[in-house]
């Protein structure tokens, strides 16, 4: 499905990013596995891809830094020769009630989850515009649509990503580049593992399909949005949340 395509997945050392990297590789894409701090885990993702006969390499970059991102994109385009698919997945949480939220917590989440998407998107527009094709897929979150107490910073960043997705889609559509967002609901990852059982039970009650999502549920949608088959879809946000927000 993606043979001959080159992809970069940010925050791909674990969780949803890891599942996306594995899936894109399974479909034949060469994958750059970006990580910020988890070098060992990123290496394991690369090894897993290679053991399955795929092509991948790990690359460190802090997406909140434009210099770091520029260097990463340069290395990826040099190594692969082109870049067809960018998946902006890197994200962090610093949950707190609004009244207790520190400026640092706000800034950290906005810088990685929103500015990081801006930095990476800006850096890939040049190669993608030149080749007159490209797929940019942003991992937003369902809470960016619905809101969520205790996550003012995260929600603001994710809502921002949805707006950024629409604008980027409009700006780049004439150059054959599509930009879409995926909004995961409650997915089993390290990030949601830290929530306590009460919170999880409450969330389960709000999910019509009555189960948590898996990283693979997200990866399957990203695979589709990265493929030629999604060529007439741009600026959209696909909710993958078991029906939680309709």
């Amino acid at each position: 499905m993606l043979t001959g395509k080159n992809a970069l997945v940010t925050g791909a050392s674990r969780g949803i990013g890891r599942a996306i990297a594995l899936e894109l590789a399974k479909q034949g894409a060469s994958v750059a596995v970006n990580y910020s701090g988890s070098e060992e885990k990123a290496r394991k993702v690369v090894e897993e891809i290679q053991q399955n006969g795929g092509t991948a390499f790990a690359i460190q970059a802090d997406v909140s830094s434009s210099d770091s991102v520029s260097a990463m994109i340069k290395e990826v385009t040099t190594t692969f020769g082109s870049l067809d698919i960018l998946v902006n997945n890197a994200g962090i949480t610093r949950d707190n009630l609004l009244m207790r939220m520190k400026e640092e917590e706000w800034d950290a989440v906005i810088n990685t989850n929103l500015k990081g998407v801006f930095n990476c998107t800006k850096a890939v527009t040049r190669p993608m515009m030149k080749q007159r094709s490209g797929r940019i897929i942003n991992i937003a979150s369902i809470v960016g649509v619905s809101g969520n107490p205790g996550q003012a910073n995260y929600v603001a960043a994710k809502a921002g990503v949805i707006g950024l997705t629409k604008t980027t889609a409009k700006e780049l559509s004439s150059r054959g580049i599509t930009v879409n967002a995926v909004a995961p609901g409650f997915i089993e990852t390290d990030m949601t593992d830290t929530l306590d059982t009460n919170v999880k039970d409450e969330m389960l009650k709000q999910i019509p399909l009555a189960r948590l999502g898996r990283p693979e549920d997200i990866a399957a949608a990203v695979k589709f949005l990265a493929s030629d088959e999604s060529g007439y879809i741009t600026g959209q946000t696909l909710h993958i949340d078991g029906g939680m927000v309709m």
Binding site: R126, M129, K130, E171, S174, R175
Partner: protein, 77 residues
Amino acid sequence: MAEIQDRITKIIVDRLGVDEEEVKNESSFKEDLGADSLDVVELVMELEDEFDMEISDEDAEKIATVGDVVNYINNQQ
């Protein structure tokens, strides 16, 4: 000088799909040559590659006519 002008003209003709005769120093990219904002950004990218230089965003914003480009490149060379 003439050589630089020719290279610039060629890029503009290729990128904007206009006739060479239309590319005059006083031609405005947006008003005379039918370019939109994104076309101008792409043009700047091509010029950077062609002349192996970096054009800052501040300078790029000032580019409105073919003559602006010719002067800019000549001053930088």
